[in-house]
């Protein structure tokens, strides 16, 4: 079974179960809301995919002459173009593209070995997942804790410093931050590896199942590989996670402060409950609700950040794949990557909205 399929199952089955549970137990309004949301997600993906398809077709470059370089003759270029179906009418190509998206086959790459895009993505997508999941967790931990802390110490030095932190970290160009970390921890101190996903030698001993190396190492009980993967993860995760944490600090802080001014908190305060308990016990819990929405919105920033992080750290994920293939004018690969990104964004925001509608009774269905 392909790694992509395994990952889809790992994520898909629990989500489907959850959705089914919610659907069965939920109110009529909730059911209708979830259905509408799902129905609305599809045109969103369709719009983006179509946009990308046509944008790429106006590109002046040509994948075939790009791959052949100065040594290609016009006849060779034409024959290969015909072979790859690039000489068909645009509408035929579009139809083929839509069909390949529906069947999730994506077609074959236009450059190099013309490998199936699904195969290439089976190698790239798990790498991106392995980077963005710990990065989001780090961002969330730092963000939520920092935000709550800042709110607790409102208008004091700590609040001030945390706010400065959140703004400064948000203003850092992520690629520059990555480079600085790389130079300091990788080159100067030599503590951490600066590129790749796993040590080359240890990598040969790792049997890949999902292509998420940490998971594969755990599943096969390959401890050296597991630790090697973790080491390689540290710098990219720090880069992406810390940059993201800025927004979370800011949002959590604002939300906790807003909640602290709610009447029930005032009531609780009047009952003599300690401020600490108020903040971490009551306010934070409610403030977390909008933060959930924020997670959905941050997916965009997360993925864009992943593109730059992967480029800086030679991380063989979807982002570096995209950048690589854009310059090779590999339409099929680029449109597939962007469509997959679109699906990812749409699915996560769907999931977030569903969860949000469950936990926040104020949402109108």
């Amino acid at each position: 079974m392909s790694p992509i399929a395994i990952i889809a199952l790992i994520i898909g089955i629990p989500s489907l179960l959850l959705l089914a549970y919610v659907f069965v137990r939920g109110s009529t309004g909730l059911r209708r809301y979830i259905l509408t949301r799902i129905v609305l997600t599809l045109p969103m993906i369709f719009i983006l995919a179509t946009m990308v398809f046509f944008i790429l077709r106006i590109l002046p470059g040509d994948p075939v002459s790009s791959a052949l370089g100065p040594k290609g003759t016009p006849e060779m270029i034409q024959s290969i173009r015909t072979q790859l179906g690039l000489n068909d009418p645009l509408i035929v190509q579009y139809g083929r593209f839509l069909w390949s998206m529906v069947t999730l086959r994506f077609g074959n790459s236009l450059v190099g070995g013309h490998r199936p895009i699904v195969d290439e993505m089976s190698e790239r997508f798990p790498a991106t997942l392995e980077l963005i999941v710990p990065a989001s967790i780090l961002a969330l931990l730092v963000g939520v804790y920092g935000g709550a802390l800042a709110a607790a110490k409102r208008k004091r030095a700590l609040d001030f410093s945390l706010r400065i932190y959140s703004v400064v970290i948000y203003s850092l160009p992520i690629f520059w931050f990555g480079l600085v970390l790389q130079l300091f921890f990788g080159v100067r101190l030599r503590w951490l590896p600066i590129s790749g996903r796993i040590d080359a030698v240890i990598g040969t001993s790792l049997k890949t199942i999902t292509n998420i190396y940490s998971l594969d190492a755990l599943l096969t009980g390959n401890w050296p590989a597991f630790f090697s993967v973790l080491q390689h993860l540290i710098l990219p995760t720090l880069t992406l996670g810390l940059i993201l944490s800025g927004v979370f600090v800011r949002m959590t802080r604002i939300n906790v402060i807003e909640t602290m001014q709610a009447d029930y908190i005032a009531a609780a305060r009047a009952r003599g409950i300690r401020e600490r308990v108020l903040i971490y016990g009551h306010a934070l819990k409610n403030a977390m609700i909008p933060v959930i929405t924020l997670i959905g919105l941050q997916v965009a920033i997360l993925l864009a950040g992943a593109v730059l992080t992967e480029t800086v750290f030679s991380w063989p994920g979807m982002g570096s794949y995209l950048v690589e293939r854009i310059s090779a004018r590999d339409y099929t690969a680029v449109q597939s990557v962007i469509t997959v990104f679109a699906m990812l964004v749409a699915l996560i925001s769907l999931a977030v909205d569903v969860i949000y509608s469950l936990v926040d009774p104020r949402v109108r269905y």
Binding site: G72, V187, P193, V201, T237, T311, P316
Partner: protein, 581 residues
């Protein structure tokens, strides 16, 4: 409702915490079980508490494995298709041809054949006899019949393959390949070609496994293991990550592997690769480190840098049918105003050398024609040429120059900027620089219709001067338009008498087998080439291999300092050995 809400929230928290347990608290480097004693970095033994990671030491501490870093990507592993240096390197390591280059040189020696072959008096027939006991990595023996069939596959399968190497390196030269008996292979050529043995030594002619590379289809990425008759076989291949080589158990030749495993690791950019070789993550960095990284690595004491005087050249292409470059005075003015030394030193820190002919030094008949003719930089002379065509400070020559921003390294923009400054120093030229992505750039430049002037780089397919001159003169000449294609002609119609003379000289040189006479013909050709300013050669660069000081090549054969990589920049992994630490 209330109940539900908390159930969901709890499950979210649960999932998050499980993930957290798996990925969150990344252990500090010290917690890593460095399976082998850290031996490379002295810091490791002094301060075990701050020991470098396993990653920083494994490359050094594993005596049986050598890790080679590269920024090249594998594009094809089918010898009937592959047309890139990285692909050829893989093919040479897993297989072998009838004749081969002596490692470290461009001289030829017998490979699978018993000798360098018998050539018929008319120079059209080459006959080779196979050595005994040649077997593929899976044990299948190689017979002349099988070999000839695979070579015929090369001649016929080309159009089905994306890179179609045969179109350039087989079909134009070879009429037929036959095997009269189980030991003999006979090549019949279409015409007498002076440099055919050099072509025959090339990767398209290595023995390929008929079980993997079938007659009817191109197989760019066979599933590992991939066998040939060479010293190694590919045991694992993860595209974009690494390719693992292990010794071929059936190999009987003289280039036996000295280590148990070679891993080629793919990097997406040279900078990361430079950092990796510096931190000891990889043993060898081979292609392509840019001059910028070399300047940095030069001062690292644990590293050695081998310099291979290679044939990589960069030059300006001028389109001789487009205004204003159809005016010979304009072309000559440009050739006179460029200061190649300044480019070599300011942009590349002296890591590249000025080039004064399209044929780089070291090749047969290479001259310094552009230097003798224009003694650039010579601004007075440049002005004279410009003024002869009516240009002046008030009526300057306005030109656009194109370049690809990434393809030849990011320094291209820098040296184009320097050339612009130099040309504008005449006071009578105004230059506009235009960057264009490689894929758009190449057809626009070499198609010969869109760009008047642009940058191109070149590296030979076979080590011979003809490979540096013919492509820029014959058939539109990669956008130089010195000849215009005419139907049924291999060379096209020359645009003027000088071009006609040049074409005639080159054709004569292609069939001349006397090396001294050939060299003389090429000398004359280069003078006319410079007079026509077909292209403006700018600089040539050496290739560099950077390796840890505990890695060494074979001292018994040529150029051990460069790990026995010769001017044809082919790296034979069998020469590598690793000193135990």
């Amino acid at each position: 409702m209330k109940h539900q809400k908390w159930f969901v929230l709890a499950s979210v928290v649960l999932v998050a915490s499980v993930l957290l347990g798996a990925c969150g608290p990344a252990p500090t480097p010290t917690a890593a079980p460095t399976q082998a004693p850290a031996t490379q970095a002295p810091a490791a033994t002094q301060a075990p508490a701050a020991a470098p990671t396993a990653a920083a030491t494994t490359a050094a501490s594993n005596p049986d494995t050598i890790i080679i870093g590269t920024t090249d990507k594998v594009a094809s592993l089918d010898s009937a298709d592959a047309y890139a240096i990285r692909d050829w390197e893989v093919l040479y390591n897993i297989s072998e041809g009838l004749i081969r280059w002596v490692p470290g040189t461009t001289n030829l020696e017998p490979g699978l054949a018993t000798d360098l072959g018998t050539i018929s008096p008319d120079g059209l027939t080459y006959t080779f006899t196979l050595k005994d006991g040649i077997k593929f990595g899976d044990g299948t023996p190689l017979t002349a019949t099988v070999y000839a069939a695979q070579l015929n596959r090369l001649l016929t399968i080309g159009p089905k393959c994306p890179n179609d190497v045969a179109d350039s390196l087989a079909v134009p030269y070879v009429q037929s390949i036959t095997a009269p008996d189980d030991k003999t292979i006979v090549f019949k050529l279409k015409s007498k070609i002076a440099f055919f043995p050099q072509i025959l030594a090339g990767a398209p002619y290595v023995a390929s496994d008929p079980n993997i590379f079938k007659a009817d289809a191109c197989n760019l990425f066979p599933t590992a293991p991939i066998y040939g008759v060479g010293p190694w076989y590919v045991s694992q291949y993860n595209p974009d990550e690494q390719m693992v080589f292990e010794p071929n158990p059936y190999y009987t030749g003289d280039m036996k592997p000295q280590v148990k495993q070679v891993i080629v690791r793919f990097f997406s950019d040279p900078n990361t690769m430079a950092l990796a070789v510096q931190s000891g993550e990889i043993d060898v960095a081979w292609r392509l480190l840019s001059p910028d990284q070399l300047t940095q690595l030069k001062n690292v004491s644990s590293l050695k840098i081998g310099t291979i005087n290679g044939g990589r050249i960069q030059f300006l292409v001028l389109n001789h049918t487009m205004k204003p470059f159809d005016d010979p005075n304009v072309d000559k003015a440009i050739a006179s105003a460029i200061d190649r030394n300044a480019i070599a030193d300011t942009v590349y820190g002296g890591q590249v050398s000025p080039l004064y002919s399209q044929v780089p030094p070291g090749f047969l008949g290479a001259s310094q024609s552009f230097d003798t003719m224009y003694s650039a930089p010579n601004l007075d002379q440049a002005k004279k040429y410009l003024e002869a065509s009516g240009y002046s400070a008030t009526n300057p020559l306005k030109i656009e120059m194109w370049y690809p921003p990434e393809h030849y390294g990011a320094s291209t923009a820098a040296w184009m900027q320097v050339i612009k400054t130099q040309l504008e120093a005449t006071g009578e030229i105004q230059v506009t620089l235009q960057a264009q992505e490689w894929s758009t750039y190449v057809p626009a430049l070499t198609g010969g219709k869109a760009y008047g002037a642009g940058v191109l780089g070149w590296f030979f397919d076979y080590p011979d001067p003809s490979n540096y001159l013919d492509p820029f003169v014959y058939n539109r000449g990669e956008g130089t338009n010195v000849t215009i294609p005419a139907t049924g002609s291999d060379t096209g119609t020359p645009i003027n008498d000088k071009a006609k003379q040049l074409v005639a000289l080159l054709q004569q040189a292609d069939t001349e087998t006397d090396q001294t006479k050939r060299a003389e013909l090429y000398k004359q050709a280069q003078d006319i080439y410079a007079d026509l300013v077909v292209t403006v050669p700018i600089f040539f660069s050496a290739e560099h291999v950077v390796y840890q000081n505990y890695i060494s090549g074979m001292s018994s054969i040529a150029s051990p300092d460069t790990l026995n990589i010769g001017p044809n920049i082919l790296f034979n992994y069998s020469v590598l050995s690793k000193k135990s630490q």
